[in-house]
Amino acid sequence: MTGLGYTVPAVASVAVVVGAELIVLHTGLFRRAAYWVAMAIVLAFQIPVDGWLTKLSAPIVLYNRAQTTGIRFPWDIPIEDFLYGFALVTGALLLWQYQKGVASEHH
């Protein structure tokens, strides 16, 4: 672990998504129980899907070990993938909810 070319942007992507909600979008998504239930379900499905993509026995995606922490759990999933997945899905959910807010707002 020297470059951390995956770890650093993965952490940054979560910060950008959370910052976008708190500073710009204000959808209230993080206060919704449905969001956290959905994210728990998404996480439960990420493990088999991502596990398949990253398994070292027959990998579809191969990571440069120098660019990650090297911690792979569960199975061979680089832990950075969980930050990446959180940012990807939450980013889309925030924009999804933002569209709803825009459509239903009456000034």
């Binding site: 191969l62 899905v89 980013g91 889309a92």
Partner: protein, 107 residues
């Protein structure tokens, strides 16, 4: 079939979440809102992907992808991933709410 592994995995994710639409998620039935939620996030992740591929942070196993590349050597499978996974996440979020409504609780 090996070259279609990544695409088959993405198709499986979309098929697995499709019943949520029938339960009342109403995600595929709002295509414009879905596009405005998914496309901007997909663009950001495509740029990230191009940088990571160019910087040798990760690579794709030629055995499990079709070999069809977008610009910047991004496998077409990655575009499919950036569209399919957020759609699955939004379907999960709306599906959770639809199921909650059916059993009479508000999430």
């Amino acid at each position: 079939m090996d070259h279609y592994q990544y695409l088959i995995l993405m198709a499986a994710c979309l098929v697995a979440t499709l019943p949520l639409e029938a339960l009342g998620a109403r995600v595929w039935r709002q295509p414009a809102r879905l596009a405005r939620a998914v496309l901007p996030v997909a663009l950001v992740f495509l740029i990230w992907d191009a940088l990571a591929i160019g910087g040798h942070v990760w690579t794709y196993n030629p055995r499990y992808v079709t070999g069809v590349d977008l610009p910047f050597r991004i496998p077409v499978e990655e575009l499919v991933f950036f569209l399919a996974i957020p759609v699955c996440g939004i379907l999960t979020f709306e599906g959770v709410q639809a199921v909650a409504r059916r059993i009479g609780i508000k999430l």
